[in-house]
Symmetry: C2
Subunit: 233 residues, 2 copies
């Protein structure tokens, strides 16, 4: 998973999990299959007995939980390379849903458990991976609890930008595969407020909304200043 950037611990967890995810996949895991899901289809539901963990090959998914009153909290978006479904509980602790068309690798839990029981090094990799998720969740928590709606949207954009940079893509041209509702449910704000925030950033001349799914960052430094942090590092 990735890490929202507006915090003091910087992007350590992102890189770290990236490496961890890779080593998990490089391990001698057997029975891995590949599977495709159409847009909006669930990969697994919160509460379901856990049978597999998944590695995103192509597309994007949303990880979320529903509150009793029907409100939805997105914890993260899973993008290619990410592993979702980790955690020691025997049931999935949140729902994973395809945003667009998605292809995933299914890693059987039995296979994962066997390897972890045999190889303490692999078990420690799982420990690392979940530690990173914990870190990312705390960062999101900081973003939600301590920033207003405009700042949250900026943090979201900068996070995507940083992800792009780490994948060798253009950090100033962002693709938003998710809807405004998905973004709002991640940031804890309404779709209208997401929209208003993007419009405000456009009027400030900091971004350009080319299409609803494509955002060009014009003034990266300005965005960083909005969340109280300069870019030079």
């Amino acid at each position: 998973m990735h890490t929202l950037v507006a915090n003091t611990s910087e992007n350590g967890s992102l890189k770290q999990l990236g490496r961890t995810a890779e080593s998990i996949c490089e391990a001698k895991l057997i029975g891995i299959t590949s599977k495709a899901f159409a847009a909006k289809h669930p990969i697994f539901f919160e509460g379901d007995a856990k049978s597999c963990v998944y590695r995103i090959e192509k597309g994007a998914i949303a990880l979320y939980r529903m509150a009793i009153d029907g409100k939805r909290q997105v914890f993260d978006f899973g993008l290619p390379g990410d592993i979702v479904g980790l955690g020691a509980a025997d049931a999935y602790s949140c729902t994973a849903q395809a945003i667009g068309a998605v292809r995933v690798q299914c890693i059987p839990l039995s296979s994962l458990n066997r390897l972890a029981a045999e190889d303490s090094g692999f078990a420690l990799k799982l420990y690392q991976a979940v530690s990173s998720e914990l870190e990312a969740t705390r960062n999101l928590l900081m973003a939600l609890a301590r920033h207003n709606s405009l700042e949250r949207v900026v943090i979201f954009l900068l996070t995507l930008s940083r992800r792009n940079a780490l994948h060798g893509k253009n950090p100033s041209l962002l693709t938003l595969p998710m809807t405004r509702l998905d973004i709002g449910d991640l940031l804890g704000i309404s779709i209208e407020t997401v929209s208003r925030s993007l419009s405000k950033l456009r009027k400030f001349g900091m971004i350009d909304v080319i299409r609803t799914t494509t955002v060009q960052i014009i003034d990266l430094n300005g965005l960083n200043l909005l969340i109280g942090r300069a870019t030079y590092h």
Copy 2:
């Protein structure tokens, strides 16, 4: 760590970590020492090189992180029996500070790492423990993002109540070792709003604030209804 209750995954993680914490302490760890801290003194700082994990014997601590603008986000309160400082990173990812006088066991990281490398079962225990912390953090995230201030305070009280029940103490008589500021910084609201929420619950006849540090729950069912959940289960 404990788990805020207003969610669908129930209290699984709480019990689970309770057990995990115990088994971690029962393990053959060497070099454990005991240490005392006075009120408001730091146990460790965010960013410090990690040398030990700590088990609370007596008293209470706050786990928090500071935002750039000086705002503080409390992630959790550590109460007797809890283990704090876990996580695969080589630096503490948040600050731990004594609320009142505190006594802790210091478990050297070197000892922990050696055992984890030798014994995959112990490594998996660490995996479980951090998974539970992740779960608790997600629950807090749900509370912050999806509940108003009154509901957050109710969730906080019900969490303490459940903790009491699990420790064999009276679930209707709550001790609040932390200040209103600590509570507010956990729930993302101001001290005035914490105070107003408690007063409102008192006027509703649902609680009685005996002293500022002691709350009697009168109508547990009513509190549960406020957060959209009945008690009968």
